[in-house]
Every structure is written in structure tokens, then in C-alpha cells.
Amino acid sequence: MSKLSLRDLSVRYGARSVLNGVTLDLAPGSLIGLIGPNGAGKTTLLRACASLIPIAGGECALDGRPLESWDRRARARAIGYLAQEKAALWPVAAGRLVALGRLPHLGPWDSLTPLDESKVSEAMAATDALHLAERPVTELSGGELARVLIARLLAGTPPVLLADEPVSGLDPAHAMQVLTIFRALALEGRTVVVVLHDLMLASRFCDRLVLMNAGAVVADGAPLDVLSPDRLARFYGITADVMPEDGTRVVVPRALAP
């Protein structure tokens, strides 16, 4: 059980302030959706949590210890990150790409142990990608590649998972499959944060939504509380319907706000 605590976190790109004093607790047990209009700072927040960009102010701590004070490899074992860009460059076999997720557990000259191999297979089975293991990743469809890359993320078995738009470019079935996997991982006791643009999926699958705008968190809570009509109009510039659907309710965008 690992949790991320952000205290007054600020990030700057040059003179431009991209995150202004974000305070958040990201804990296991619920699938956390990070939402907000383009340019709100979602990706920046995720990258700061993955130690990919320097922090200008405040603190980002993993289990009470600031990220900077963690050993690089220990941190890599604790926090898994799925980048927004999902491109495969070399035609490597998918199974080998997934195995790269085990790198934080391997010494510089170690080869994969049977334990590593079994984690790779488990991860691929979880994302329904086991049958793709021998295929070159450059020949996979967008959905197949996304599942292989998520398997790579899972293969390292990190207690904290940060996924930047894991379902962009996926058809509805695969998008739901991926979010179901992430939700199961969250309920299992991992801290899972996913950046989402699809409000319908966000309201349907996430247990908690964090709405960002202009580098700050403007709402945080249960999906339907966060996605109130006035917030949708103010931050997204849209109106939406709330559709009842077997117990849960989903938000369906309707039109641009007047």
C-alpha cells in the first residue's frame, strides 16, 4: 500500500507557471481519474509525480518521503508510468517489450529469472495480450499496442500506477477493458491515477475524479459531484446530460454551453 502526497506542488516551464500549489492525496482503493480541459496541467502533474520534471515549489512525497530522496531504482519499482505517446519504434516482439517493465528489478547484467518471466506472462494475460507475445509491436493495431504497453506497465508490479490517457485512440470495448483492469488494480490496493478526456468513461469507471483547470485542482470527489452542470459549463464550456444506467449514472456531453 503506497500513497502519493502532493503538498502545495508547483511546476514552472521557464517563466510560465504550469502547476500552482496543488495539494492532493492519491491513495489506494479507488480508481482516480484526472480530468480537465486541454492545457489544465494534467500531464504535468503526472510527470511531476513520476519525477520526470523538476518541482519548482512544494513537495511530492511517496509514503511520506519526498521523491527526490528516493533511490532512482527503488523509485522505479514503486511508481510505474505510462506515457501519453504510444508509439513503437523498432519491430521488437511484444513479449520482449513487456519484459522491459522488469528492468527496475534487474541488475545491470542480470537476465530475466523465471519469476520475471511469470510476471511478464501475468501482465500480458491481464491485458488480454498474451497471444500477441511473438508479434512485432510495429505491426499491432492501436488497441493491441495500447494493451501491450499497459502490460509493460503492469509487469513491473509497481504499487503506484500513473497512466497518461491510457484509452485515447481505443475503441469503446478496448477502452472499457483497459479501465476495468485499472479499476481492479485500484481495488486490489494499488494507487492508480489515469488521465481521461472521455467524461462518459470517467464518470462510469472512476471512483474519484480530480478536476483540474489552469494548473490547479478545482474539484475533487465522487464523479457526479465533480461533474456538476455549472462546472462543466465553466471549465469545459459544455452542457451535459446525466443518464441513469443500471445503478450507476454517467455524464454524457450534449452541446457547447450557451
Binding site: R47, A50, S51, L52, R72, R73, R75, A76, R77, I79, G80, Y81, L82, A83, E85, A87, A88, L89, W90, P91, V92, A93, R96, L97, L100, G101, L103, P104, L106, P108, E134, R135, P136, E139, L149, R152, G156
Partner: protein, 339 residues
């Protein structure tokens, strides 16, 4: 599985390394017994000479053939390895020391040392070469390292090449004598002819350091096939990885160019040919590229000695003549496969 059934598909790693090693051993032997026609032709001439005049034969072996062969071996290995690392680092199959300006700037560095040291400081030549490559490679990472599109990278290489060739032309322009001008041209046209064991010992230490640095980034190159950010989140210090790769390339290419001049396209062709055999894994590519580079260099150098021309053909000219169309071909294939 893919429907590709060419000779170029993945083979067991031991077989690839073993096969290439056997090839290098054979080519080394052929290189040692191959001479330019008028002195001693093939093995028969050499054996004959040995019977008549063992001392001269020994002299030819130790002063001419062995240094030449060793240099071809070392330079080929260094260029093949550097090419494989640069391609993995820049995540671009078109990266190559010469194309990206690393070789020409090494030549410029060596020319500068020669120019200001008047040849008396021959042991500084590799240092000059290394400094030249270091500057060029660092510049390249700044210009085209972040954006992985081929065009930016090639353009950065064009810019660096333009700059170094302008400065080399300047040195040629002000060469104090025709002899000095000839010496400068020597670094532009790479060759293994007329080298001694001194050249081998001059280059070897720097190359060895370069090899260690380049091999140390193998795992990181594998991780980088997922992108630079993802590699960083897998526990690699990307600044250190880049530093080691750039320094390693500088040591290898700088030392190679300082003793043999610019030999282009070895670092492009070899990793490209070997890559399918290792399942396209960037880290696994390093050792076979190194051995393959040595094999190609030896073969090319044997080739230039077998083609009888009045003046010996420079090996750097041959690799460029064969390599440039290969590069064009790659460019066309890549443009077709990647929008």
C-alpha cells in the same frame, strides 16, 4: 508471426556473435596475406620472399600488414559500435557518426592539432579528434536529440558537416605548403595504408575507454525503445546515459579518425544489417555491430588492395561510394513506412 522469410530474421545470439567472429578471423588472415601487387601479391609471393629474404618478409609483416590489419579491425569495430549506440540513443536508424558530422569534426580536430602543432605532437592527434567529435555530438543532442523526427536529425548533421567542412577548407586555404595541404586531405579521405604500430597504440587506449562507455548504456538503450520518459521512469538516469554515449562515441570516433581519416557509412550499414538478427533489440545490437563493423572494414580494405589501380584507392572513398546509395535507399524505405 510475420510473413517475412528473408535471410535476415532473428537467430540465436551466440550463433550471430560466433558467426561474425569466425568471419573476422578469416578476414584477418586474408588481410595479412594480401598485399599490393607490385610489392608482394598473395600468399605464394610472401612464402617465396620468406624463403629468399626472411628479414624483409618479417619487416613487411610487422611494419605494414599487421598494423594495417589491426587498424582496420579496431576502427571497424569502433565505428560499428558507435553507429549502433547512436541509432539506439537517437532512436533513429539513420544515425551514423559520419552522417551526423561526428567524423568530419574529428577530422577537423585532428587537422587543428596538426596545424598548430606542426605534426610534432602526434600523440595529441587522437585528443584533437575526440574533442572535435565531443563538440559535434553534444551539439547534435542539443539540436535533434529531443525531437526524434528523422528530418531534424539529418538537418542537424548537415549543419554540423557544413560547419566543419567550411573550417577544414579554411585550414586547406591557408595551408603553408602543398605538403601540409596533402596532410589535411589525408584526414578527409580515410585509409589504412602506410600506418605503423604507433598508430595502433595511439588509438587503442582511447577506443578501449570508448567501448566500455558505450557498452555500459546497452540496457538503457533497450529501455529507450519505449521513449526517453518511460526509460527514465524505469530507473535510468538519462543525463548520465547520454553523457556516457556521447563521451564513448567521442573516444571511439575521435581516435579512429585521428589515425585513419574519415571512413563513413560503416556505422550506418552494419547495425542495419545486424538488427533483424538480434530481434531488433537495441542493447543486443551492440556486440554484433562491433564485430560486424570490424569484418566490413577488413573486407573493404582487402578490396582496395585487390583492385589494381596506379594509385591505391582509399578505403574511405569506397565506403562512401557504396554507403551513400545505401543511405538513400534506407531513406526511401523509411519515408514509405513512417508517415
Amino acid at each position: 508471426m510475420t510473413t517475412k522469410t528473408s535471410a535476415f530474421r532473428e537467430r540465436p545470439f551466440g550463433l550471430v556473435v560466433g558467426g561474425l567472429s569466425v568471419l573476422v578471423v578469416i578476414l584477418t588472415i586474408v588481410s595479412i596475406i594480401t598485399g599490393r601487387g607490385e610489392i608482394t601479391g598473395g600468399l605464394g609471393d610472401l612464402v617465396g620472399l620468406w624463403r629468399r629474404d626472411a628479414e624483409t618478409a618479417w619487416l613487411i609483416m610487422s611494419q605494414v600488414r599487421v598494423p594495417r590489419t589491426l587498424l582496420a579491425l579496431l576502427v571497424g569495430a569502433s565505428l560499428g559500435l558507435s553507429g549502433a549506440v547512436l541509432q539506439g540513443l537517437l532512436r533513429n536508424p539513420l544515425a551514423e557518426p559520419a552522417l551526423l558530422g561526428a567524423s568530419s569534426s574529428a577530422a577537423l580536430g585532428a587537422v587543428a592539432v596538426f596545424y598548430f602543432g606542426a605534426g610534432g605532437l602526434s600523440y595529441l592527434l587522437p585528443v584533437g579528434g575526440m574533442v572535435g567529435t565531443l563538440i559535434a555530438t553534444a551539439l547534435l543532442l542539443l539540436l535533434g536529440g529531443r525531437a526524434q523526427d528523422t528530418l531534424t536529425l539529418i538537418l542537424a548533421g548537415v549543419a554540423i558537416n557544413a560547419l566543419t567542412s567550411a573550417l577544414t577548407s579554411l585550414a586547406l586555404n591557408f595551408a603553408p605548403s602543398p605538403y601540409a595541404a596533402m596532410e589535411i586531405v589525408f584526414w578527409i579521405l580515410g585509409s589504412f595504408a602506410d600506418r605503423s604500430l604507433d598508430h595502433v597504440f595511439m588509438a587503442l587506449p582511447a577506443m578501449a575507454v570508448g567501448w566500455v562507455l558505450l557498452f555500459s548504456v546497452a540496457r538503457a538503450l533497450d529501455a529507450m525503445s519505449l521513449g526517453e520518459d518511460t526509460a527514465a521512469t524505469l530507473g535510468f538516469d538519462m543525463r548520465q546515459v547520454k553523457l556516457r554515449a556521447v563521451l564513448g562515441t567521442a573516444f571511439c570516433v575521435g581516435a579512429a579518425v585521428a589515425v585513419t581519416g574519415v571512413i563513413s557509412f560503416v556505422g550506418l550499414v552494419i547495425p542495419h544489417l545486424v538488427r533483424p538478427l538480434v530481434g531488433y533489440r537495441p542493447g543486443r545490437l551492440l556486440l554484433p555491430s562491433m564485430i560486424g563493423g570490424a569484418a566490413l572494414m577488413l573486407a573493404a580494405d582487402i578490396g582496395v588492395r585487390m583492385i589494381s589501380t596506379a594509385l591505391e584507392l582509399k578505403v574511405g572513398v569506397i565506403t562512401a561510394i557504396i554507403g551513400a546509395p545505401f543511405f538513400l535507399h534506407l531513406l526511401v524505405v523509411l519515408r514509405r513506412s513512417r508517415p
